[in-house]
Symmetry: C2
Subunit: 429 residues, 2 copies
Amino acid sequence: MVELSRADLHVSVWDPVATSMNFLNEVAGRYPDAISLAAGRPYDGFYSVDDVERYLRIYLDHLRAEGRTEEQVRGMLLQYGRTNGQLGALIARMLDVDHGVQVPAESVMVTAGCQEAMVIALRALCAGPDDVLLAVEPCYVGMTGAARILGVEVVPVPEGADGLDPATVTAVARRVRAAGKRPRALYVVPNFANPSGVSMPVPTRRRLLEVAAEQDLLVFEDDPYGLFGLDDEPHPTLKSLDVNGSVVYLGSFAKSCFPGARVGFLVADQVVVDDAGRRTLLAEEMSAIKSMLTVNTSPIAQAVIGGVLVESGCSLRAANRDKIEFYRHNLRTLLTALEEHFPPAERERHGVRWNVPSGGFFVVVEVPFPADEKLLQVSAERHGVLWTPMSFFYQDGGHHALRLSCSYLEPDRIREGVRRLSRLITETA
Amino acid sequence: MVELSRADLHVSVWDPVATSMNFLNEVAGRYPDAISLAAGRPYDGFYSVDDVERYLRIYLDHLRAEGRTEEQVRGMLLQYGRTNGQLGALIARMLDVDHGVQVPAESVMVTAGCQEAMVIALRALCAGPDDVLLAVEPCYVGMTGAARILGVEVVPVPEGADGLDPATVTAVARRVRAAGKRPRALYVVPNFANPSGVSMPVPTRRRLLEVAAEQDLLVFEDDPYGLFGLDDEPHPTLKSLDVNGSVVYLGSFAKSCFPGARVGFLVADQVVVDDAGRRTLLAEEMSAIKSMLTVNTSPIAQAVIGGVLVESGCSLRAANRDKIEFYRHNLRTLLTALEEHFPPAERERHGVRWNVPSGGFFVVVEVPFPADEKLLQVSAERHGVLWTPMSFFYQDGGHHALRLSCSYLEPDRIREGVRRLSRLITETA
């Protein structure tokens, strides 16, 4: 019988990122009663299974109201359909309503979750062996993982307390160019980043876009948490500030609707010119890649998300009022629990500190000892609490920090999780 | 404003395959009244939009009947879920019922259509720059396109009237090895292939599997049309004959259910051994790749397909009785119409011939003149009929042949399409 050697399979199967994620899942599986401050998945208590049928009907009625025949509606739900999907107009309207971003419907591609959007944007731009992606570090593993699948080199740009520093981006881009490579794009999560929780101030955002233009970089803006700020202060997307047309926007419905749809999108309204001078939109060119990855995004799944958009008047902000409050309360609960267990004197004594994000799902705690897989194992077994080693998000770094997530738990469990974590920390420090 | 050069984007955006497919779509768009013998999409008249809700309910009731709580059912529909999906057990049972194939549920990965299954299988196996895919030629563009996205070299293995010749596979594999490369896998559609319509006799299938073992090749078996034979004679899958464990089976629900679900699967029950001697299944290792492409397959879409499987007792053959009759009637109609317009004497006079597939959606017509894009344009404009140049499916070849598809049209339209085609041929020959 055929036996394959694991080392003979593609690097993405056995590299450290895959191994780390497997380890995390494995620990979570072995200690099902541990409180998970590791999982960043959204809370699903705002929906019932009946909502799926309801959204489906709302969308189908919307198609009928737009004048489509029953046969056309059937085709839109059951057939292959356009490679770039059928929600372009609704998503473009949502971007205008929620973010003040005006883009043509044709610049929107609906994807099989934001993950596929990352793969497609990366594949389109990083075309040759010298094309390099710059990426904020610490970095969401979905982006580095997508690059590994495609064999694209990722050069990290270290993040500060205020997110990416545009001057650092310039320095890294120059260094890459000096080494004979071409930096094609920069990946960044400007709002409440995963994993760091940090956000970029508005002036820094504007400066980053100038740097992108100077350095001939596209910016891949990933914004899954933008709605979930602690206050109502607007956090303008890079896309809304983008006077030069540098930003490819990567969108997710996993947090603003639900992950089970597996619908995301990208906006690529850049103009592409061919040898004959013909002009198209980047999203339209990218459809050749999408067609060879997944053909198109499940029309049934698109219809469900379409229903959410139609019902809310294309405002995810409006559709998410309850969820925004829930996540705010959770983040405040997490930060308050950390304060309670580590008042200033204790914090100093144990050498512990953490950042105070202005929104989102994540907080980073720095500790004076290695927060590695070994410690995670101890934490799960003896203390019944899980978290994510920050080193998972670095090429080499983050060894003394851990990421806490507060998206999925009820407040009581967050408090209990932090209590358990405080015991681990005081015992280990 | 940013302007990108098309030549600076990835090759998959502007290479001949992408350009050809664009051309085909463009012509179809410009001549909406032309009869399309080009489109291979399934007929959707067997379903109504209400079926989607019905299948969804059947699957959710199935989950409840298996003892899951309402909260668990909600999580399975709305949350991320397992990377490899939740239909493993139902699909494994279907493979047993319909094909006599016994595999563990853990060897099944549910994918975002069969297209993603191709990308994942290819990425897992073709790991290094010298790893090469052998592929039957003419070849379905989804497979060659997937290879281009990943930068994997494809070496064609020419197909004969009885499909792949195992001796040719051996010769090509040896030649590739002599050139310092490693043939890792062989892509083949043994039943009613797309685009050629040909099928492999059973003894040839057995011999092909011996060759795969001798040449240390995995076989990627793609079988979207296997159910749709002209008679009830069984067409055993390679997987069912696979005593050595060489076959990775690529499955589609687009034809047996409907494309709008965008659900496919792969079966990879090969054992993978790591340095420490730990043994896993290939499908489990492949989940690291799946997680970086689409995270998981839309659980909502999975639930709809799950409903089809539950309702039919996990027999797509049973679920497809009407469709099988429909497609048989269509293929017979197409073949009869060709006979009528080109009786033997006419056939000889015009230098026209075609193959007579024993099932599936496709027939190949050979003509004594180039069946190229220029002729397709003439065909659409003057004769109102579309077809696919066979050259689209070759690296270099198929210049005097065209593919006819009979899957989507009602029989009357097929007859009219062939009548129009016959005028094109007699006018051009």
